[in-house]
Structure formats: structure tokens, C-alpha cells
Amino acid sequence: MSGEPKRASLLIVGSGPAAIAAAVTFARYADPSEQCLVLDEMSTSGGQIWRSGSTNGLAKYWLDGMSLPNIHRKQGQVLDVLPQKPGVVFQSPNGETQICLGNDLVLATGARERWIPFPGWTLPGVVGMGGLQAMIKTGLCVANKRVVIAGSGPLMYPVARSVQKAKGKLLLLAEQASFAKLANFTAHLPAYPEKAFEALGYLAKLWKVSSPVGTWVQQAGGEGRLEWVQMTNGKKSWRMECDYLATGCHLIPNIDLARMAGCTIEKDRVKVDSLGQTSRSHLYAIGECTGVGGAERAIAQGIVAGLAAAGQRELSHHQSAALPRWERFVQLLDATFSPRSELLDQIREDTIVCRCEDIPHGKIKPMSCWREAKLQTRLGMGPCQGKVCGPAAKALYGFEPDFPRPPFQPLSAQALFQMYQSENQES
């Protein structure tokens, strides 16, 4: 453990658009003597969306702001949120753990992909959409490889562009949401011109790709590796040979730290007031952990929280007028891209639900709740501790997963020891 706690006026967990907007706004509006500390696992700022190479003007504006002198960034993992005061236990990549304290703490922990298991989803070659994007970025060669993208939500389009740019053969871009739902979504889009423009931008680049709606993966197959996918639109099914299938059913807020911290959760999102304040004082939540609504909303929330933390209450209130519109957008996204019931019905007895422990649907089906399934079948007991299978089990069986607690990721016994010890000293 490295000695004294690290102190800052504002402590931010995450460095995606929401976190960056909060940090930069705080740095501009707070007294210059006040410091902001940003903690993120990744080596570079930008979060899910900006890290993967999107360098539009908006991204550049905010990313440049991160070099302001009173913003400090540390790479590493947040292991726990302190129960009594705004602070966290933090572990650097070299294994050192440290307490970080702030006058205010902002959680901007983003979202993760939702998987609904289907027969064959565990075959090598079947990847998450964010996963494929990250793999391409870190050197996976998809040039001339046949790629099918099938899932749900706006995330599919940037992923499709990444595949195109990397010269992959994009065979299909299939959205599971129905035509009626998408028509309703499109009808509302003019109220979000920034989103409408973004959509048009993708359309201009992707118009040649076959992009059916109301279409989803029924099954993936192959000998030891993905060789084909079976698609369906409910009326007919067909097989396509391919090398990669990128899939995922929209996103779900990552609320583990907030729940652990004791913040009120509503409908699987962190509940916040108009300034981004959670139910716990001096603790804010912004961005996708409060609902999946895209980068523009995350930035708007970041500005509001950054101003509030800088003591600019009036400005903050003023800026918060922009948020209700985005709240409606979150609801629109949720309603449009929620999984259709067919996705839940096509699972088979032998379809794996928990990938860490290899637990098939047939074993879990008779269980009455998450805890019983966990104790009797080992569902969710592996390294991911239910991060992947938890949302799937909720969709499939209505199980409410465990209350999260550290370790949130597999953690060496030494680091766990240090975490407990430093928290013990701090309290």
C-alpha cells in the first residue's frame, strides 16, 4: 500500500465522454487551486466511443481539455467505494493500492453489452460488438474476412464502419427490432438533430450493405469455430457462411459501484436528480450508468455535474434544462431496442447460459431464483461473477442478480488484502 491517501477536490471514476465533460468543465469553472483526479482502467481517455478512434470535432474539443493543468489522470482499477465519505480504493497497474478522497465523487462507469444466449453463441468467432471494435483497433485483421453484424441498437453502426474501414467483407447488418418500432424511433429523431445527422452519416457510408430490420440470429454453428450463422426474420430462415459474427442486444448501465456505494437504483439505472446527484450526498452519477443515451447526453450531464461540483450552482441549474430531452431519448432507445420475445424463446436445453462455468439452460430453468441457481448449478460463480450471465438470466428467467460487492473483477489475494487493510485504516 502506498502511504497517504491521495486527495482532490473532485474525484471522477471513468474517463468516457461524461467523465471528460465533468472534469474539463470543473477545471474551467472551479478555483484554479482546485484539483480534479480522473481514474480509469484504460491507458487513454475517451471511454467506449472516443477511444476507438472517433476523432470528430466534438471528441477532439473535449479530449484536448483533458490537458488542463488541474486535471490529473491515473490509470488503474477502482476496487471499492468507501462507505462513509466520498472516496475510493484504487489499484495502479503495478499492483499498488491507494485510497483516493474527494470533496465530491462522480461515478461515470458507463454501460456494458447485453447478451441474450442463442445456440452456438460461445463458439470462437462469435464476439461482442464492442469486442470486435476493440479487437480491430488492437490489430485483429478482418481484411477480406466475412463479417455478420446482428444485434440491436445504435452501437451496430460505428462497429459496421470499423469493419468497413478495416476492409472486412460486411455481409449483413441485421437489427432485431421490428420495423414498427424503428419507424416510431425515426419519427422521433428530428427532435434530436445531432443524432439524426449522425444516423444520416452512417447511412451514407453503409447504404450498400444489406441491412434488414426485424431480423436476428437463430443459431451459430461450425466445427470448433464459427462457420455459419442461421438468420431469421420470423417468416423464413437462412444460413450464411461467415468468419465473424458480432452481436449484442443494446447496452445496460454499469451500476455495480453505485449499488455498492448504497445509491438508489431505479429500473436498473442509478437514480439522480436534475444536477446528477445520487441519493448519497457528495456522490454524483453521470453518463450511461444513469441510462443509455449516447455521448451527447453524457456530455450534457457531465457539464451539469462539473458545474455543480465547481460550486457554480446557478449555471449548473441553467444547463440542466437540456437534460429532460435526453431523458426522453434514453426511454426511446430502451423501448426501441429491447429484446423481442423470440430471442428468449429460441434457447435450447443445451445452450450455455453461464460461460465461465459452462452451465446450460436446462439446468437453470428449474431454479426459483438467482441464489438457488447459483448454489445448485454454479451459475454466475466464475470469474465474471454474473456480469455476462446476470443480465441474460434476468431476461430469460426474471432472476434478480446478487448485490454486487468487491472484488468486481478477479483480484489477486495480495491486492484484496491491501484493499481491506487500507479501507480499515481509513475508517
Partner: protein
């Protein structure tokens, strides 16, 4: 009210379901009622070490009988119970503890239990990851490890197969003389004998019994097959476990069939919520690191707590319950609880004694040491 069954067992922890199977086996009509799920209480939190313990003659007798019963069942146990005859290695850190090894081996051999005194290099042949410089240990080959929640589910299945009934979803609110139980929703049932097998919760239904919850912490790692081969326990464990008032930690690490390591153990009185306690967990890890230095690098997945139901003499309560007011036996109400850190092991012995006594057979070991009235009779009526 007319009895609806010979035996009504409250609680589907490992003790309750073991009792159900034994009662059904001797021909009693049996009903198990459970508020939540089978094996979801202490049974879903404990280590599952099947171990002969030599704390007192009564403890040796019960653990030895129970381990023998587990061995009998073993061929029938499904794979999900993860039975693993890994044995126990009691680790002696120094010469003083080596003397304890000799004493312990003597007690075991008098009881007819095979053990092996291990010294010097031999210890590291068995357990290469132990820290250098330890004196030796006592290896008890017959001990084993199981996964308790699925063992409980299997025992319940066997009981149901033999005619026992199972009902879940309603908690019992009260238990009355005459074998009457009242559920949270007001429903009532009556049986010739009601067996309270609700673990550390038993004082809620039968106030005043000599039972206290004793909290324990456990940590599970990712899979590292072969890192250790026996359940490893420090000999200082006995000194620690004896402490009835202080919070204690001891080195107690278990190899699971999955290749995982289960790291224990702590004992606390007076801690009533299931929160992870940072100082205790840190101490427990520190102790484990001292014995197994490479443990530091292994990845941990989850930490949890559980409650043991502890009695003053560390021997369970099996038999008629004392009336909270008079201290005299309650008519038609029995206890099967108080198994502290040994209930997975002693569930089977407990069930055998209970069923034998209910039908008037003489149990194969003396039953008097487990008689719940031993405390109330000494003290007189409980105020």
C-alpha cells in the same frame, strides 16, 4: 389439532434434510418446511470439510460416526456433490505444535482413526507450496470435502423418494407445545414431533436455548488445480477455535474439486449482520499468506460470510427442546441444531441419533451428551 405427520422438520439446511431422510428411512411420515430454498442458509456458506475432530469425546464420537456414514453414501453421491477424499493435513509450525501432533495422533489411534505423523521433507512432498521451515504435520487420510448445497439438495431428493414431503416458501413464525407450528401467513400444522432445524435461527422459534450465532468469512479463488492437495489447517486452529469470546482467525484452506481454493477461517461472536468485515478479512488473508506464500498471487473471485450456530460446549443440541419458561422438555418439539463449524459433517450422525431416538431404538453412540436439556437442567428454569 390432529397430527398431519409423524415428523415435521422446520428448515431444509443439511441438518434438516438429513433428518428427513433418516426419518423416512425408519418409516416415519415426514414433512420438511422451508422458508427459502434447500441449502440456502449456513449450508450454502460453509466449507464442506468432512472431518473427525477430537475436541471432546462427544465430538469425536459424532464426527467419527458421521464421517463413516458419509463414506457409506459416497458411491451413490452424484458428481455435483464434488466428494473428494483429499484428507486433512494438520500443519505444525514449530516443535511445540509438533508435540500436539503426537498427542492428536494418539487420540485418533485410540478411536480407531488412521493418521500419519509427517515430519520435515515429507511435509513438502505432500504440500510443496507450504512455507519452508515448518516442523511437520498430521495427515488424516480418511477426511474428505464435499460441496454442501448440492449435497443437501440430493439428501432431500432421497428423502422425497422415500415418501417424505417438502413444502417451501412459507416461514414458520411460532412453535408450540403439542407439536404445533404456525406459519407467517397464519396457517397451522400439527405433527407428533416437530423438529426445529433452522440453524442459527433456532432461538427465534425456541427462545432461551443455549445458542449463539458465530460469524465466519470465506474467500474463494479462481482455479489452480494442485496448488494444495489436502485441506490444510494450522494446529493453532484448536487454540483459536476454543476462544469463546474473542474474534479469531486461523489458517484453514481447502482444495475444491473445481481446482479452486477456499480460504478460511474466522470466528466472531456478536456480529449479527452479513457484512464483510475488513479488518477480520485482512487478518485472515495475512495468516494464510504466512503458511502459503504463493497464495498472494492467486486471483480471488468472491468473499462471503456465514453464521455457525454455536453452543457453550461446542456439541450440538439433538433431542427434546426445553420449554422457555419451565426449562422442562416441550411436548412434541425437538431440536436439531447447534452444530457450529461441523454441521456439514455431523448432519448424518445427528439424523441417525434423532431417528433412532424417535422410534425408540438405542443409538449406536451415547446420545446423552447432545441432549438439549443439559443446559436448562443445570441452570433451572430460564428467567
Amino acid at each position: 389439532m390432529k397430527p398431519g405427520a409423524d415428523v415435521l422438520i422446520i428448515g431444509a439446511g443439511i441438518v434438516g434434510v438429513a433428518c428427513a431422510l433418516e426419518c423416512a428411512r425408519v418409516g416415519l411420515s415426514t414433512l420438511v418446511v422451508e422458508s427459502h430454498m434447500v441449502g440456502g442458509g449456513a449450508t450454502g456458506a460453509g466449507m464442506g470439510h468432512l472431518v473427525v475432530m477430537d475436541d471432546s469425546p462427544a465430538q469425536i464420537a459424532l464426527t467419527q460416526l458421521s464421517c463413516a456414514l458419509w463414506k457409506e453414501l459416497q458411491p451413490d453421491l452424484p458428481g455435483s456433490v464434488e466428494y473428494d477424499a483429499c484428507g486433512t493435513m494438520w500443519v505444525a509450525a514449530d516443535h511445540e505444535e509438533m508435540a500436539e501432533v503426537e498427542r492428536k495422533s494418539h487420540i485418533y489411534s485410540n478411536a480407531g482413526i488412521v493418521s500419519e505423523v509427517v515430519t520435515g521433507r515429507k511435509l513438502y512432498e505432500y504440500e510443496p507450496n507450504l512455507r519452508p521451515g515448518l516442523s511437520g504435520g498430521l495427515r488424516v487420510k480418511g477426511d474428505a470435502v464435499i460441496y454442501p448445497p448440492t449435497a443437501a439438495a440430493w439428501l432431500l431428493d432421497q428423502a422425497i423418494h422415500k415418501g417424505s414431503k417438502f413444502q417451501k416458501g412459507q416461514a414458520v413464525r411460532e412453535v408450540h407445545e403439542g407439536g404445533i407450528v404456525v406459519f407467517e401467513n397464519g396457517d397451522r400444522l400439527c405433527a407428533r414431533t416437530v423438529v426445529v432445524a433452522t440453524g442459527a435461527n433456532a432461538t427465534k422459534l425456541v427462545p432461551g436455548i443455549a445458542l449463539k450465532p458465530r460469524k465466519g468469512h470465506l474467500i474463494i479463488t479462481d482455479r489452480y488445480p494442485g496448488h494444495i492437495r489436502h485441506q490444510l489447517i494450522e494446529l493453532g486452529y484448536l487454540k483459536n477455535a476454543h476462544q469463546l469470546t474473542q474474534d479469531t482467525v486461523a489458517f484453514n484452506v481447502q482444495p475444491r474439486r473445481t481446482g479452486q481454493l477456499l480460504i478460511g477461517s474466522s470466528r466472531q461472536y456478536g456480529a449479527l449482520d452479513s457484512r464483510i468485515e475488513k479488518s477480520i478479512t485482512a487478518k485472515m488473508l495475512e495468516r494464510a499468506f504466512w503458511y502459503l506464500p504463493h497464495l498472494k498471487d492467486l486471483l480471488c473471485l468472491r468473499v462471503w460470510t456465514g453464521f455457525r450456530a454455536a453452543t457453550p460446549d461446542k456439541v450440538p443440541l439433538i433431542g427434546p427442546a426445553p420449554n422457555p419458561v419451565t426449562g422442562r422438555p416441550m411436548e412434541g418439539v425437538w431440536l436439531a441444531t447447534g452444530h457450529e463449524g461441523l454441521g456439514i459433517t455431523t448432519s448424518l450422525g445427528t439424523a441417525r441419533i434423532l431417528a433412532d431416538r424417535l422410534v425408540g431404538n438405542t443409538p449406536s453412540i451415547p446420545w446423552e451428551p447432545y441432549e438439549p436439556l443439559r443446559f436448562s437442567l443445570q441452570k433451572g428454569p430460564i428467567p
